[in-house]
Symmetry: C3
Subunit: 135 residues, 3 copies
């Protein structure tokens, strides 16, 4: 297995960060196989959605409705307001996704991008582990 950690700048606000080009670069020069995207953080997830037509912001709004950030709701009380919520997020938006690679290209659909979903405002950078198993 080939595996490496990349560092993604997420900044100080909640964000949906497109990492498709990182994933594609990692897959290039490989053959067929399965590519694992894994975020080794307890307050972030990874998703495959369309970006650039509003859905990335729609996702952040949906997260705020489904899992409201208000401090009083959550037992976990460390960190900035919303951090309790951030810790529940990965149960719904998993930190792990597996993508098939065909001839060195992630087999994504036309409108699919791989995104890091990070509502945590306390960290400016996040690590993402990319791993590839040839089949």
């Amino acid at each position: 297995m080939i595996s490496e950690e990349i560092v993604i700048h997420t900044g100080g606000s909640a964000g949906v960060v497109d990492i498709t080009s990182n994933v594609a670069r990692f897959a290039a020069a490989r053959d067929d196989g399965l590519l694992s995207v894994f975020v080794p953080h307890a307050t972030a997830g990874v998703a495959v959605i369309e970006v650039g037509a509003g859905s990335d912001d729609d996702l952040l709004s949906a997260i705020d409705e489904v899992l409201p950030a208000e401090r009083g709701r959550w037992r976990h009380q460390h960190g900035s307001p919303g951090h309790g919520r951030d810790h529940v997020l990965p149960a719904f938006i998993s930190p792990s996704i597996t993508i098939p690679v065909i001839a060195g290209r992630p087999a994504l659909g036309t409108w699919q991008s791989v995104v890091l979903v990070d509502t945590n405002v306390d960290n400016q950078t996040r690590k993402v582990r990319l791993s590839f198993i040839e089949g």
Copy 2:
């Protein structure tokens, strides 16, 4: 890796489509390994649930509550009403799932079925990529 795309008829209404038999057929004649089910579309997901006792319709109702289809809520405004919501769905119901295969059989529990979850009413058919890595 063995990989192929199958085409699933989803029709013109939101649906939970059982693809277990397609997955089982693909796994048959293989040995032990991991089977990836990946939907290359930005408005559909894949899940493992029980079907046939109401839970497939329960899932569609839950999606409508968790992610309401009303047009005004979503920035993404292309397509039929609800299409903005459809684009957020895959962040919560991922387009990728990995299933262990033992001696050519998906290691599903008695009540588990693999389903395509597709709330998009604008497409009558969907592709699903099945990939298998022997271990």
Copy 3:
């Protein structure tokens, strides 16, 4: 592929059960590869979250809000109150997650634990299948 089923005691109440040590034990003595955690039950999921600082209880509260247990809401009516809801849970908290293993250690972040999420009160024990593919 090496694959085995372990049995986890979940008791008679909804719970988030830490299975990190089981996963770590299974990964030890392996080399690099992908580890699949798969729950062969239709009313449970697996997640990677922080435990021990309130987030496990926060997750159970969030599930109760996102997918309320009230019996009247759900078409699936077998089992104890809430069982209809339990059957929708795995679409949102998947029964499958894939974790990279590096030199016999799951590549989890410092605050990440692998947990079985089981809101089903009718079963005292649950099986979890652990599988490993070397890369």
